[in-house]
Each structure stands twice: as structure tokens, then as C-alpha cells.
């Protein structure tokens, strides 16, 4: 009987501990400042194609015909090419997004992120660079809670904020650009499409001219 009680207690403790880690208690003690949402331009990922990370074979960037070039250095990297459209009438843009698993990830601090850089170009006009990090913790949390409640490790149709525009968070900015957008700076935020998909993602730009 005592063994059974200990087992139940242990399982209850593991589940509680798991939920505790997911809820990021360290982050709750240091809440981020309130979010600014003014003067935004929004771009939506209409379609994309990508290569790398866990969805493809380990050697996605390697040369299968030449085992001497397995590109193991790139096994946690990803390349995406996308067509973006503004949510208001305007010209479409082409974008490349490079991302890699962040070396500073830490489950105890709810850090599960990828370092990313974007280059977005509008033909005959100019281009901008964005640099920052995508936080995938909310997706892990949602999928884990779904699994605990019997819904499978699934993200459903929810959209997830990968970044925010809060001042004081780590650098998440418009780095600069070329052409007519050479002097542009500011911040950006990204939210995924339904189900955490890249297609349907929204990029909110809070740009300023330097």
C-alpha cells in the first residue's frame, strides 16, 4: 500500500514539476514590460519553401553523393524562402529567413529559441534586414498541455507569438537595408500562422527612419 502511495505521489509530483517548468516561474518573477503596438506595418507569409532542421533528414544541406561533405555543422540550421504580402494594398516582397537553434537555450528558464535573420526585398525599391530570435517555448507549452489532456502532441489551429515588440527584451530589430530603405531602423515581431505553420505568419514592423 505504501509503495502504491509513493508511486502516485511521485507521478503527481512529476506532472506538477513538469507544469511548473512549463509555466516559467523564473519569468513570472520578472514580467516583461507592456507591449507597444503603434505604427505597425504588417506583412503576411503567403507561401514558402524551406530546407533544414528537424523536418528534413539530418544532412539536408549535405551532398548525398559525397559522404565527405556531410555538413554536420548545419544539422540545426534552416533556410526559408517566402513570398510576403502586406495586409493593406501594396507591393509583394520576397524574403529569405535563415535560422539556427540558439546555443543559449535553457529549459529551466523557458528558453527554446532560434536565432534568425531576415532579408526582405521589394524589387525596384529596396530591402531591409531583420535580426532577432524566435521563441518556440509557447509552442512547446501548448503541445505539451495538449498531450497531457489527451489531445496528442498537437498545436491545433492556434497562432503563436514568436517575438514581441516590448522594449527591454533582447535585440529584435530592423538592422538596416539598401536602396530606398537604407536608413530604416526599428523593431519587428513575428507570429506564426495557424497551427504554428510558417505560411500565414505575420511580421509586424515598427520601422523608423534614422
Amino acid at each position: 500500500m505504501r509503495g502504491l502511495v509513493a508511486l502516485v505521489g511521485l507521478c503527481a509530483g512529476i506532472v506538477t514539476g513538469f507544469l511548473l517548468v512549463l509555466s516559467d516561474p523564473i519569468g513570472l518573477l520578472n514580467p516583461p514590460p507592456e507591449r507597444k503596438t503603434s505604427s505597425l506595418t504588417q506583412l503576411v507569409v503567403v507561401d514558402s519553401s524551406g530546407l533544414g532542421s528537424s523536418r528534413q533528414p539530418r544532412f539536408a544541406f549535405g551532398d548525398e553523393a559525397d559522404p565527405a561533405l556531410p555538413a554536420t555543422t548545419l544539422k540545426n540550421a534552416r533556410v526559408d524562402l517566402a513570398l510576403l504580402k502586406p495586409d493593406e494594398p501594396g507591393a509583394s516582397a520576397m524574403a529569405v529567413k535563415l535560422s539556427a537553434v540558439s546555443p543559449t537555450n535553457d529549459l529551466l528558464r523557458a528558453r527554446l529559441s532560434a536565432d534568425v535573420t531576415w532579408n526582405i526585398v521589394w524589387p525596384n525599391h529596396g530591402s531591409i534586414f531583420l535580426a532577432g530570435a524566435d521563441n518556440h517555448w509557447p509552442q512547446l507549452k501548448a503541445a505539451s498541455l495538449s498531450a497531457l489532456t489527451g489531445g496528442g502532441f498537437s498545436l491545433g489551429e492556434e497562432r503563436f507569438e514568436l517575438t514581441d515588440l516590448s522594449p527591454g527584451t533582447r535585440f529584435q530589430g530592423v538592422v538596416g537595408g539598401s536602396g530606398a530603405l537604407t536608413e530604416v531602423g526599428g523593431r519587428y515581431a513575428e507570429a506564426t500562422g495557424p497551427g504554428g505553420e510558417f505560411v500565414g505568419s505575420r511580421l509586424r514592423l515598427q520601422a523608423r527612419t534614422n
Partner: protein, 221 residues
Amino acid sequence: MQRTFIFSFLAGIALSVVLAAVMPLPRHERIASSIEVLTNGGRSEEFIIRFPEDRIALPDVPSGLIVLDGGAAYGLAQANSAAGAELFRLRDVDDQIIGVASRISARTPSSRSPSVSNWMLMIPSRGSLVMTQQDSADVSPVRTTQGWTLPARRAPFWAAGSRYRITSGPEPGGQGRVLRGTAEFARLTGSYVETWERNSSSGSGEISGRIRLSTVLRGPQ
């Protein structure tokens, strides 16, 4: 009995926290970098891309974009102008693959150069560099009777020789500008030069060679 439950419950919580702390997360394999420290401050590092073998072909093409030269690049065409995107694996001077790179080139009316090119270099274990330059020749997609193509894929582009310095500004000395770095490259800025070197053309007319990106990076003054 109650004491047993509380003890095992606390042990369960502790076990979860310890598991979260020790669970192995993905780490990047790191290759020693080949950096030369400069006597007048800063550091130089050279990156190499071999073409065509380092070109990255995507599994499909996003709707609304075009394929250039059989998948060598991708583009977005609007009226008589197009922007081209090329994706590459990135190598160090010892020919080891260390990262991925993208190059976007386009004509922009506000620039005095024939075209403008942007580079993103991402070395997963070290960070990223974003760089921009004015080009010495138009290397953005051009329209031919066969459709949009990259000028460097055509033999006439190489008529002047087998070595081509592409960068012509905006930094003094005709060098490109390193706008920003992330992670280990954070707070570094500087300049760079992009040079294309042609090896030969095969029987099929495929041009091979390499792109050399020579960077000079400095910390905050």
C-alpha cells in the same frame, strides 16, 4: 502514509526540475575559425562559396516566385525589374562547410550602382553577419528571350576575365558594408569585398568557380 505521499510528491517535482536541467538540447558542431588579427585593429576572415556545388536547391518554389536558371536562384519579378535570391552553403578557407548564406540582388532606382546586393551569412555555432554592397556590374536578374536569368550564368559576363570584383561601395575604397552581427559577431561592424573567380566551363556550358567574401570586422570604437 500522508508523509510518504508528500515525500514522493516533492521527489517527483525535484526529478522533473533535474530532468529539465540535464536534458541535452541541440548543440552546433563548431569548427575552429580562421581569423587573422590585423595590426591596425580589427580582424579579417575570409569565406568561400563554390559554385555550382554549394548552391542550395529548395524542394519546391513558393507560389508567386520564379525559378532562375533551372533552380540556381529564385526571383520575384515586378514589371521590368526583378530581385534574385541565391542560397548557398558557406565554407571557411580550409574548405569546410561552416554555415549557410543568402544573396539577394536587385536594381534599385535610388542607387548609383547597376545593382545592389545583400548578404546574410549564418554560422550556427557562431552567429550571423548581414552585409550590403553596391555592385560593380548588374548582377540582378535580367530578362532574356528564354525568361529571367542571372547575368553571371552567361558567358559574355566573363568576357573581361576570370576574376571579377563585384563590390564597388558604399564604404571607402569601394568596399561593402557589414551592417551588424549577432551572437559572437554582435557589436562588430566593418567592411568586405566580394570577388568571383571562374574556374572553367564544362561541356554543358555550366560555369564553375567560387565566390570569395573577404571581411574586415572591428569592435566598437
